[in-house]
């Protein structure tokens, strides 16, 4: 199971101590679950859960020309970011294909933090570095930082317990620094679960202290440590895309249905001309969420998607939704079949099962 090339986060031993089942993921050894995906999923939907996201990459950039440079490299508009706020954005290749999806925070007037996918960190850094101009300090700080995602409706309550006083968490998409147990935390009101929550970043050496304090204080609220398994089911119920599955260099943000995070009013950024053309003519295929129509085996990545006796695509993400107790997934399908209510068939071990294109998100709180 373990692979000599795999990296571990500063919480690796804490995961083992907490009963985490460890699997290789994008070059890292990470917990897929501690008790069960379903239990951890429900803990996040009903109470609060904590995920180790220390494997994610942190790139920092600063200096007067940084904002202009990032606006050339990223699809969303940096000029819309006030100090202390972040935005979801894409790093594209010249053909408009997705290298990575990430969050960029403006941590100072001329200072930025990019939080990128673990498996893309080095590639992103090299790609950005290639086109850097003078006057910009750019660094891959991934090894220096650890991170936790703390997600669920009881997150605010948890932070009152942790700080032993009322603290004002940053507003949605904002990032703020706090002192906690004499340590420095950057807290961002962001997440990947569809629940209220935060993502917290801090020096790697402080990780075990912070993790254990959260587990101890969270006990009263039903907090659970959560693995990659629940992270995947939670994000898929919300139709949040996963890099490597739903987003690849063969796909662009327009056909992924994420044009909202592409500002075509910017005069130039890498991939702009291709995206403008696709936007103009309409994307020939679209990423759609679907639900299985009956009880049966859950859809999985790479299963065939069929329509009118013809294979039209394959599943990019699929699972059994713990909230809906139903098979759910996403796939790129030709645009004529992308309408809500459009009927599809998913091929599972040679047999076809009916599915239907749904509206985003697949799960909504009652």
């Amino acid at each position: 199971m373990s692979d000599a090339a795999s990296k571990t986060t500063p919480l690796y031993e804490e995961h083992q101590r907490a009963g985490g089942k460890i699997i290789p993921f994008g070059g890292w050894l990470m917990p897929v679950q501690y008790t069960s995906i379903t239990d951890e999923h429900q803990a996040v939907r009903n109470n609060v859960g904590v995920f180790d996201i220390s494997h994610m990459g942190q790139l920092t950039a600063s200096g007067a020309p940084t904002a202009g440079w990032l606006n050339q490299m990223l699809t969303n508009n940096i000029d819309k970011l006030a100090v202390g706020t972040g935005q979801y954005t894409f790093l594209l290749n010249e053909e408009g294909g997705i290298i990575d999806d990430l969050i960029v925070y403006r941590t100072g007037l001329e200072e930025f933090l990019l939080v990128v996918n673990a498996s893309r960190t080095e590639e992103d850094f090299a790609w950005l570095q290639k086109s850097i101009g003078g006057g910009i300090r750019f660094a891959n700080r991934s090894a220096d930082f650890a991170g936790l995602a703390i997600q669920g409706p009881k997150v605010v309550e948890l932070f009152q317990l942790l700080f032993r006083r009322q603290i004002e968490l940053p507003a949605r998409n904002e990032i703020k620094d706090f002192e906690f147990l004499g340590l420095n935390l950057s807290i961002a009101r962001t997440g990947y679960t569809g629940e209220d929550g935060v993502e917290v970043f801090f020096p790697a050496a402080d990780a075990p202290t912070i993790w254990n304090e959260i587990l101890a204080k969270g006990q009263a609220l039903g907090l659970r440590p959560c693995g990659l398994g629940a992270r995947d089911t939670l994000r898929l119920e919300m139709c949040y895309p996963l890099n490597g599955n739903d987003l690849t260099p063969e796909h662009n943000p327009i056909e992924a249905g994420l044009g909202f995070f592409v500002d075509l009013s910017k005069p130039e950024f890498i991939g702009r001309s291709v995206l403008a053309r696709i936007k103009e003519s309409g994307a020939p295929r679209k990423l759609v969420p679907f639900k299985m129509k009956a009880k049966g085996p859950p859809p999985r990545p790479h299963y065939g998607v069929w329509r009118d006796g013809e294979q039209i695509s394959e599943v990019t993400s699929g699972t059994l939704s713990p909230s809906l107790n139903q098979g759910i997934g996403m796939a790129y399908v030709p645009s004529e079949h992308a309408r809500i209510g459009s009927e599809l068939e998913i091929e599972i071990r040679g047999q076809k099962f009916p599915a239907v294109v749904e509206k985003k998100p697949l799960y909504k709180k009652a």
Binding site: V32, Q33, S36, I37, T38, G229, T233, G296, P297, P298, R300, T319, L320, P322, R349
Partner: protein, 125 residues
């Protein structure tokens, strides 16, 4: 981990209970714990011919689909339909209500090739 003494076992974590000329088959307590919460079982068809170590059924958790193998050669004579509506029986009672299928053994001596409880206990550490 529960490993009943009166059963035979495979390296791929199936158990076999000899019932006359038939063999009742499921997956072990160890296997269900590794797979975690079972959400779907694809049963074999009654009448299907099973080859020893041939893929015969599928057990799915939220995370993944796992193949189940026939421990010995035979014909499928019964399948556990209760798993269609309640696949989690595999977790809650792996050696009882969570059985998966019954084979009419081609040669009852074949079970002697399988592990006994002591050998299986050793295999799973």
């Amino acid at each position: 981990m529960n490993v009943p003494d009166d059963l035979f076992y495979t390296e791929s974590h199936e158990w076999v209970r000899v019932e006359g000329e038939n063999a009742r088959i499921g997956i072990t307590d160890h296997a269900q714990a590794e797979l975690t919460y079972v959400v779907y079982v694809e049963l074999p068809k009654v009448g299907a011919e099973a080859e020893a170590r041939g893929q015969i059924a599928v057990v799915e958790s939220v995370k993944a689909a796992s193949d189940i193998y026939a421990p010995i050669k035979g014909e499928v004579v019964e399948v556990n339909e209760a798993l269609s509506s309640n696949p989690a029986l595999v977790n809650t009672d792996p050696f009882g209500e969570g059985w998966i299928f019954v084979l009419k053994m081609t040669s009852p001596d074949d079970v002697k090739q399988l592990k006994d409880a002591a050998a299986y206990r050793q295999a799973i550490g």
